[in-house]
């Protein structure tokens, strides 16, 4: 590899990493909800680590139109059967620019889902929080609205 090619490779990797790194730094909403699951159910999150390799891999596999994507899953939940505070935790983690699209709550079991969105420039930011008897998931993504269809198919799969 020539010196020029080496520099180009470093620059390319840096460009790939920057958006995800910036997204992580600004993910107070994501962190608040993830920490709630960790403390309530005494579990650790499964999340691709912030290594350069994981970031590059994530950028390569993420669906068309997705600008940033962060996913954490929590398996084998312990603790309370219901989580009446979850809706409040999610809502309090978000500022007024976020809109609730779906709020599905339960007082009898753990099944709850929250979907919030907000416009961010020409992108759409989405926060999805879902929990059931076995596992919980937190997803935050910034997507191109024109390609959101393929992103929804990705989530569905």
């Amino acid at each position: 590899m020539t010196r020029a090619n080496g520099i180009l490779l470093v620059v390319a990797i840096a460009v790939l990493l920057v958006p995800i790194s910036v997204a992580r730094a600004a993910d107070a909403e994501f962190e608040a909800v993830a920490r709630h699951f960790e403390s309530t159910y005494n579990v650790r999150r499964n999340e691709p680590k912030a290594s350069w390799f994981a970031n590059v891999a994530m950028r390569l596999v993420q669906p068309k139109g997705v600008k940033t994507l962060r996913i954490a899953t929590f398996e084998n939940l312990n603790g309370p059967v219901t989580d009446p505070r979850l809706g409040e935790v999610v809502r309090n983690s978000l500022d007024k620019t976020w809109k609730a699209v779906v709020r599905e709550t339960s007082r009898v079991d753990r099944d709850q889902t929250f979907v919030y969105v907000r416009q961010a420039g020409d992108s759409l930011e989405v926060l999805i929080v879902s929990v059931d008897i076995e596992e919980a998931t937190v997803i935050k993504a910034r997507v191109d609205p024109k390609a959101a269809g393929s992103w929804l198919e990705y989530l569905d799969s």
Binding site: V102, S106, S150
Partner: protein
């Protein structure tokens, strides 16, 4: 006896007329006021709240506009005229957890001018009592309301915009809309007032 000078009376009357026209109770408004139902959240064992306002509906249409699949085309066609979708659903552990007044408040809103009830509704398993109301204006459907009121369940769906009621079943299960369908021989009758 005139308490006000004529110069003031006419503008005040005009203002009052405008205010009356803009009142939800009197104006032909396909969008229902559902805020009063939020008090049921604390009593319900399960709730679902879906809010897709005009801005979000525009984004959904934009998202589907770039999709080429047959299903995307079908949904795009179906939601083309829809401007807003609101779903409020509550399940309760016991009967009588919500009042007749809660249901009547919804029925009162669909008893105004322009609204009519579709009489032929075929419900699917799990739904015993569904009422469907449509608002017409200028020869078009301007809005639609589905009201499911059962002893332990209350669901209200409000679709604002143009939708063919007979294609409602194509939306069920999506956007939190319950699974109901209309019979082919759909007929309409005026919306009841104060019926429970």
């Amino acid at each position: 006896m005139n308490f006000l000078p004529n110069a003031l009376t006419r503008p005040l009357l005009a203002f009052a007329a405008l205010a009356a026209l803009s009142s939800p109770a009197l104006a032909q408004n396909p969008k229902l006021q559902l805020d009063s139902l939020s008090r049921l959240e604390s009593k319900a064992s399960r709730t679902i709240d879906v809010t897709i306002d005009r801005e979000l509906m525009g984004l959904a249409s934009k998202a589907l506009s770039s999709e080429n699949g047959a299903n995307a085309g079908k949904v795009r066609d179906l939601i083309a005229g829809i401007q807003e979708i609101y779903v409020r659903g509550y399940e309760f552990d016991t009967e009588g957890a919500f009042d007749k007044a809660d249901v009547d408040a919804i029925r009162a809103q669909v008893s105004g001018p322009g609204w009519s009830r579709i009489s032929s509704v075929r419900t699917r398993k799990g739904i015993d009592n569904a009422e469907v109301y449509v608002m017409h204006g200028a020869g078009k459907v301007k809005g639609l309301v589905i009201l499911v009121s059962e002893p332990k369940e209350l669901t209200v769906v409000n679709i604002v915009g143009e939708i063919d009621p007979e294609r409602l079943s194509e939306l069920d299960g999506d956007f939190g809309i319950p699974r109901i369908e209309l019979k082919r021989d759909t007929g309409t009758k005026p919306a009841p007032e104060g019926r429970s």
